[in-house]
Symmetry: C2
């Protein structure tokens, strides 16, 4: 799929069919995630690929507003690791770039996905730590819930001229 088309037609997809997501596709998404730009190219991230239905359902049940996890084929957890930062204070930006890359790559491959925010929501982070055994020094940043889409939402044009300034504020 064309890049601009992917950007303009991507939507947050929360309903999935039973069709599994292949290992090859997950590998491709991880490769894509890891070429995202990061501050001083330090790549302060880790990933947990969750396919276990019980775990996905437990997280979906225990975190408010996360019902989509109950039917997700895969949950791709993006974690931040501050110890990998050379210049401190950028891991959130780096992990965000990483997460968006996964969303666009997933959409381009015909999957539906949604960015489930974890950080800085203490309660959601605690649940994910417990369910997936995330150590204290690693920060559960975002969980990408994905599967083959069972809802089809049209692209939106959200251009807002009032947010654009020319040369000077």
């Amino acid at each position: 799929m064309d890049t601009l088309q992917a950007i303009f037609t991507r939507r947050s997809i929360r309903k999935y069919t039973e069709e599994p997501v292949t290992q090859d596709t997950v590998h491709l998404l991880l490769r894509a995630a890891m070429v995202a730009p990061s501050a001083a190219d330090q790549r302060p991230w880790h990933f947990v690929v969750v396919r276990n239905r019980d775990k996905l359902q437990a997280m979906g049940r225990r975190m408010e507003g996360c019902e989509m996890l109950q039917t997700a084929a895969v949950g791709l957890l993006v974690c931040g690791d501050e110890s990998l930062e050379k210049i401190k204070g950028f891991w959130v930006q780096d992990c965000s770039a990483c997460t968006l890359t996964i969303l666009l790559a997933a959409h381009a491959r015909g999957l539906g996905a949604v960015w489930v925010a974890l950080y800085p929501l203490e309660e959601r982070m605690r649940v994910v730590r417990e369910e997936l055994g995330i150590p204290d020094n690693i920060i559960p940043f975002a969980l990408v819930s994905m599967g083959h889409p069972d809802e089809h939402l049209p692209g939106e044009d959200r251009f807002d001229a009032s947010r654009v300034h020319r040369e000077h504020w």
Copy 2:
């Protein structure tokens, strides 16, 4: 350009030709930026399009490590606005998704670009505030330096299996 190809071949480009970037292209990049996902779809962002050579050179001169701005055709400033957040604490993630979208769209259109980090670097933020008149309640987040590329860097495969965990940390 295909989405996966764009993701895998994008590199940080810091050298640009004299060729100008059209208004249409800048408009397309702004439209792309504004469809990036944001927490609760609150879109807590503003943009300043800087084409003025004196301003770009002044910022390039005054900020260490930002020489690329001196030959950039356009500087696209992404700003955060905390007052637009319904759920507090997500504007950095939202602006990061926005910035990465601009980088991928620019690359797909044949431009070269690089994410010049501003936030949370106090000195860089101060310079940009001064040069572009950014008000105190608005946060200069990142400046995308771009132009037609005058360097061509090969794509890299940065996949690192040691960062991938299966089902559980």
